[in-house]
Symmetry: D3
Subunit: 248 residues, 6 copies
């Protein structure tokens, strides 16, 4: 049910019975010595596709580069400025809203996106109100990260305990290993579980987390764990999507 | 050689021997009754991956939503405003330039992107000059559409003649059929070959081209033709990439 | 220790021993039938002043109008668009950074600001990096809402239990009653404790929460409770400020 | 009559009989060796409050940081870029206009704001016209500096003669001493009356006016003079406000 | 000495002995029943050329469309938004500054431009400071309207007295008649001298001044008066230019 | 038929029978050792005037500074950033559209403008659609460079053959010599015909084309050739204008 794999008459038909759409958003940023740069983009996109299949919902194209300014000291990281990402989200949502879509569930793969995504939602509401006043379309946007649900959370804890950490986690690395079994990387992880703390800008990040990981041991990742996490995420988000589009 | 399937240390290694990167850019817009909405995005991305494999070049994440404002009267079309797309390109290029990339070959799947992409290149040069003066990095950006080469052009003409048209062409539909054989659509095309003319805004477009096609008969598309076109495009663009990164 | 009540030579002297500053940020928005429109602005500003006195830190001028787009269906509410608020924060921080300030603790009075404030911090880092590269100043920005600490949280729960709610809370109304005893308002609250749920845009907000409150009974507010909450907040934030400026 | 000290139902009631509002705007910038950094913000805000009391008009929150780019060589000065300040004014005015306010009298405390404020008014008119055409709201904005009236002008001349100067004037310093008697500063002023000329950017300003004053001797300031000036300003502006809201 | 009539090597030579340049800025807006829409643009451009000849200074291309939002109810009026005009001025000045120009005298033909032009100057200073810090180029910008000098002022008063008014004045119409004798228009002016007052937005302007004039009787205009005014303006501004570039 | 030489009532009359207007756009940039910096601006403006006379169409004021970022290594070149130029074009078109103009033929003098001009057209369509939806005005914008027609092309080839080149061409230099016979410059051209290639940014441009010319020998220019080219361009564009405004 990827929007990109449909024709326009098919979308027209879809809109007769649903005004909901799933919006994957990830990031293209370092994920430690053995995590792929596309980890967050891949997780968001594939889990969104899974939710689309489970629910019959359309899935918009992935926003594969997100807000990763704090990872910019590591080669290969890409980032949109928050102000750019807000415009991208504004354009995605308002284009789809012109066709009649009104319920936008953003399936997120990167914690660093959330503030900007939420700011973008408010910007959209403010812009539509400024342009259309009381006749603005009734748009609802919601963002959920794929790990933000009890079943994934519980499974991560069960599988990896305190080694889950918060960046380049064994959970997300596992999901990617499951989805791209031909691209499983190994690399020395020293220490096995990375240090953990908060951080400020990109230089500060690099100083605190020299190999890019935060609090995690992605050496524990396996494709089998990835499958379980993926399935749990899809199931949980499918429920959330249905609740969202049926909300009054 | 997708950037997203690499780790940051691998990118660091890559940069020791190359400063080139391939940037796919497509569009998510109606492609007539039997063409997929993702046609341009899919062609750009897959051909870019092919070129990456042929040359060993890294391929950045796809810009899957481009400038398609003139297709907005057809359901499912998405578009970035030109001003937004310019910022996206600015952010992609400047992020990668921070790591040392300096040669950016944009492999384009949508004619409607070209003006904005070129304007973006100039904006990038102007911004870097304003910020850094004579110490600005030596960035070179080039955009080539995948059909802009003698071998693809000749093959299209040979396969489809005057029915190639200029939007929802049998060539691009064929390439997508080859890449996504499970998503081949059929639909009545009336007339078989669509009318052709120039156009202005989205309403004007819809008035002139009621089913979205311009001058084309995508009913002639086949996956076999698609494979030939894909191979020709990859080969031609691989040559162009090598010439580009080796230019003095 | 308000910056505005100092002279420039005094600030020059201050900067010889400290590079920290407190940045109050509130909002000007409806707070239900008996809450003042300036509730969030007043709380943020006065608590920031208290923290300044307790720690000897300078306090910048209040950002009294924040991101309150979702309250716009109630008369008197003011809002900055997220994109505007980001520029304001950018200008505040970069102006102060030119003089040598490097540690910015935002004392926040409005949950609706947080996403935008965090996006702004990343925008600042990205802009400074784009302009200055490795010689960008070492800026650290942090945002804490005045109720985000164990002692205030506990006190609120003890005083108001489930009637605290999440907008126009008896806690914030109490603090304002303590600070502006001449402006205590009474109004019928029907039902005494307002309904609670999440919400989307301004119209949706008004539909769900017809008098503006969410989940709260601000009829329980008293100036005495306000004083206790104020003192608790100042003490907790003073500790946090000291920890922040002394962080490595 | 501060907007922030009202509830939303009170504002709703106010709008039944008046569509006018007072908008204080100041600056946070150096005011010489003995003038407070908040001088312009304090004068604008307190005089606006006085006018509000005298006329029954609502007073919006202060814009406490204005356009002070030319003072940036002195520690503690803050500034918004003109483009940012224009957006802030746009957001303030359009938010209030949504509720029905239509007459905006900006009470200004800083000469350096005026050009930007006036440009902002035109930007607002242009934006509303672009969005709403003939159904745009009938907005009127006017800016008056508190010293721009015959009575204050005469009093300043009488009290300080040629030592009034044009920045860090004894008049504004007096008003602040009256309003904040606990924060009266003394500092050597050498020469007693500062040099005077026009100037360009911040570096040029510092070169010409090494201690920040232009043409003034703020050593002559007293709280008693301040009271007289404050009263004169409030009376004059109250008249102007009434004339403004009653204009045809 | 128009820049556009020089070659680049000639400009390189010029810069060896001067860093000054004259920047004409006008407007394209209604000028009453018998005034040309280009009045302000024509006056600014031609007087700037005259000053260039008198002083040997280079003259940049005219900014022929200015800030005329308040004239938009009259056919043919064009306007830049203030925010756009600020960017245009920013781009003009910074482009020329890259070559070494540092003294920019804006010769203005339209009162409505002034606020925006001044805001633009501050924006330029702020941007250069943000990008370059202490190594920013030493730019000085100044704006003078062609009638802002004692000799033109006196002559206008002598020729037209109270019928000069403030928009579509006999002075400016005379100058254009002198410069474009083939385009002298006649039209009934009723009343001969137009009403005068301040005004707010475009609709308000049209309501107050139904034929576009403010306080003027342009029926008194003659090409002979125009020549005298033109000569006086050129002489006065030539003096001001020399003083400006020689200022310390 | 220059708009600037008309009165507003004349424009009102014009709009009763035509909704078309000609928009000249040029550039202010180096044109080699003997070409004037204003070459592109002068050609566009004068040819537009000629077309206006031939067709009775109004001609808007020239956009004399275009997108010339790649020429910035040569003294005297001016440029707007693409993003600025897009706003200028947006403001020009939307201001005129308010009065009822709907057909905008941009007569272009500089190849480097085209991408940005086309991006601007799409931005305008997108903005109007966002603000007005189905009731947006029916705007059509088209850009044609003055040499883009068979008769000029043929004449250039006949007159200059392979020495025409692509920047600082003998054709454009001839046109300017014809229009400004008092400003014909001579300079050594070494080699007589400049090298030719593509290029990237301004530094790259200067390195490849040290005197600014690309592939041309402007030493062949004469005012007589210029007259022939000018006449051919005016005739060709007059035809195109008539076809454009009469298109269905």
């Amino acid at each position: 049910m990827r929007l990109q794999l449909r024709t326009w008459p098919e979308v027209e038909t879809y809109l007769k019975t649903s005004r909901g759409i799933i919006m994957p958003i990830g990031s293209t940023e370092q994920h430690g010595p053995n995590g792929l740069i596309g980890t967050d983009a891949i997780c968001a996109e594939h889990i969104a596709w899974g939710v689309g299949e489970a629910t019959g919902a359309l899935v918009a194209p992935n926003i594969g580069v997100g807000m990763a300014a704090h990872h910019m000291e590591f080669a290969g990281t890409m980032t949109l400025r928050p102000s750019t990402l807000m415009l991208v989200i504004r354009d995605y949502v308002t284009a789809l809203a012109e066709h009649g879509f009104q319920r936008f569930l953003f399936v997120n793969g990167h914690g660093g996106n959330i503030a900007t995504v939420r700011a973008a939602f408010q910007e959209i509401h403010a812009e539509l109100r400024a342009a259309w006043g009381p006749s603005a379309p009734d748009i609802r946007c919601k963002v959920i990260s794929w790990w933000e649900n009890e079943s994934v959370h519980k499974l991560s804890r069960e599988l990896f305990g305190a080694s889950e950490g918060s960046h380049a986690t064994p959970s997300e690395v596992s999901v990617v290993q499951y989805l791209y079994p031909g691209h499983i990387k190994t690399a020395p992880l020293d220490p096995p579980t990375a240090p953990s703390s908060m951080f400020y800008d990109a230089r500060d990040y690099r100083r605190r987390f020299p190999d890019g990981r935060i609090g995690s041991n992605p050496g524990l990742a396996t494709p089998e764990h990835g499958k379980r996490l993926y399935d749990a995420a899809v199931a949980a988000l499918a429920d959330k999507y249905c609740a969202f589009v049926n909300e009054e």
